[in-house]
């Protein structure tokens, strides 16, 4: 049984200009211990799918799916209360803007212990120990001293580490990372990606990495889904995707990477669109 299985997911938004189809029948499947990367450009619906799964979309979105199961549990029929139990404990998510994702009014230690209080049975001293353990595991120097730090007193990279600590606090079975390193510098990005992959390998959880960056995909993924305008273009394991892309859009994306430039001009997606007809 897969960890998460979604079949024929459709998401539609109501807007001033009429309904907008953000996702048009896409399937997702993640197994435990696997890193799935969903890659696409803005407007490809790559984040929408996971937000829909988490129930984080606004009311203006209409979500339909033939199947939406987490460990055999049908997410579509769960009540809001049951869903909250699963989400946050078994599935957790980290976002692009680490500093904005933390509440600026509370200390890092407080926010972490709140998460633990909500989802575990731990009490008092146990919580504090677990918080320090978590901060250590995500590589924050002097974790005991950092407990009383406010988010604005830490760098973006450190805030993202805290977010990761919060996300893995309850040992989730699935971690969804939505562009976790886009707002960070390259050297920090490397550290965060390494950390995520290490945590994933140590705990055997499933990891969904949503990104627009082919470099990030190459560095982390086992399997890749390429999306374009709400549709799945290609699904393949990472090596065959880079070695031998099947879909014209994937080919276009890969050749648009400046490091793959061969001549004077970079090929653009529209060069391929005419040939590929997508």
């Amino acid at each position: 049984m897969s960890l998460l299985e979604i079949r024929n997911l459709k998401v539609e938004f109501d807007t001033a200009k009429g309904p907008f189809k953000a996702l048009d029948g896409v399937d997702y499947k993640v197994d435990a211990g696997e890193v799935l990367s969903i890659v696409g450009e803005s407007g490809s619906g790559k984040s929408v799918a996971m937000l829909a799964t988490m129930g984080l979309l606004p009311d203006s979105a209409t979500i339909t799916a033939d199947k939406m199961e987490f460990e055999g549990l049908d997410l579509r029929t769960l009540s809001a209360k049951e869903k909250r139990k699963v989400i946050g404990r078994d599935i957790s998510m980290i976002f692009q803007e680490p500093i904005a994702s933390l509440n600026p009014c509370f200390t890092v230690g407080f926010q972490l212990s709140e998460t633990l209080k909500a989802h575990t049975e731990l009490k008092g001293k146990q919580i504090k120990d677990r918080v320090i353990e978590l901060l250590t595991s995500v590589g924050i120097p002097d974790p005991a001293g950092r407990l009383n730090a406010f988010p604005h007193q830490m760098s973006g990279g450190q805030c993202q580490r805290v977010m990761i600590a919060m996300a893995i606090a309850c040992s989730p079975k699935l971690l969804i990372a939505d562009e976790p390193t886009t707002a960070l510098d390259v050297t920090i990005q490397k550290q965060i990606l390494d950390l995520l992959v290490k945590l994933q390998q140590d705990s055997g959880m499933g990891l969904i990495m949503i990104t627009h960056d082919m470099g990030v995909v190459a560095e982390t993924a086992d399997r890749v889904i390429v999306q374009y305008k709400g549709r799945k273009m290609e699904e393949a394991d990472v090596l065959s995707l880079f070695e031998n892309p099947q879909n014209p859009y994937t080919k276009a994306l890969l050749s648009a990477l400046p490091e793959n430039a061969t001549g004077d001009r970079l090929p653009t997606v529209s060069d391929f669109a005419e040939a590929g007809g997508f």
Binding site: S42, Q189, M214, A218, E219, V238, E259, D264, L266, V269
Partner: protein, 276 residues
């Protein structure tokens, strides 16, 4: 060729005063420490560094948004020191800037035509019909349609907006264009289009670029010379080949090592390491 230096920067410093609060002493922050550089006409200098390294501060000084604290800047033979002399129209016509975020750099209440005409309106006595013709020509030049003239910025995609921002910057036919991370907010495929456009414009108008970026793969593609900044200082400065093939400073090496590798060999290596 080597004598034809259009931008000459010597030992430029920029310090900011940080106001003291009730419990804090006032202090000073030096964002740019003694930067010197030369850029030849028609070439591209890439300035690389991470956030807070002073590269944007440098861009703001080159485009006369902020004054340097000390040191000299000379653009096309014209000394720039706006804290002493102010900005003349002549100086303004030499240099323009394109910002990183195309969503923030266009006035949401200004139609595209007016965006493009504003520099002409402010700096020349051109009649309005002539201004409009120039704006329409410029739209075509950057790959947009004439019917975009009367539209608002929010009706455009990020890539189109960046084209508009570039068009606005070259309306006055500047000699030097400072590009502050012009493609880092864009999608990969759009990034390629904008980089191509920049290359075309450089050929056609003989523009000189100062290209600020944190993305080494883009820099490697576009730059003639590369300068790496770290905490306000220049740690590496040379031609593209020198810097990429033989980095000297530790920081540059770290930067190269951290850049994600998207080639098949690296992926194979990673998967092998994982399987082991």
């Amino acid at each position: 060729m080597s004598d034809d230096v259009i931008l000459k920067v010597r030992d430029v410093y920029r310090t900011y005063d940080i106001k003291g609060g009730l419990f804090k002493k006032a202090s000073q922050l030096t964002a740019v420490k003694g930067v010197s550089l030369d850029v030849e006409r028609g070439s591209t200098l890439a300035v690389v560094g991470e956030s807070g390294c002073g590269k944007s501060t440098l861009a703001r000084m080159l485009t006369m948004i902020d004054a340097q604290t000390s040191g000299s800047i000379e653009i096309d033979g014209l000394p720039i020191d706006i804290s002493k002399t102010g900005i003349s129209k002549e100086m303004r016509q030499k240099v323009q800037i394109v910002f990183q975020n195309p969503y923030g750099s266009l006035n949401p209440r200004q139609k595209i035509g007016h965006v493009l005409e504003e520099p002409l309106l402010l700096n020349t006595d051109m009649p309005s019909s002539e201004r409009r013709d120039l704006a329409l020509q410029m739209l075509q030049k950057v790959g947009l349609q004439p019917e975009h003239y009367g539209r608002y910025p929010h009706m455009f995609s990020g890539g189109q907006r960046q084209r508009i921002a570039i068009a606005r910057a070259i309306m006055m036919k500047p000699k030097l264009l400072v590009l502050d991370e012009p493609v880092s907010a864009l999608d990969l495929s759009v990034q390629a289009q904008i980089l191509n456009l920049l290359a075309d414009l450089q050929d056609e108008m003989g523009l000189t670029y100062v290209f600020i970026s944190h993305d080494l793969s883009v820099v490697r593609y576009i730059a003639d010379k590369v300068m790496v900044m770290y905490f306000g200082e220049v740690v590496e400065y040379g031609t593209r080949e020198e810097v990429f093939d033989n980095p000297q400073h530790d920081y540059t090496k770290t930067l190269f090592a951290a850049t994600p590798q998207a080639d098949v060999e690296s992926i194979k290596k990673r998967l092998a390491a994982k399987a082991a």
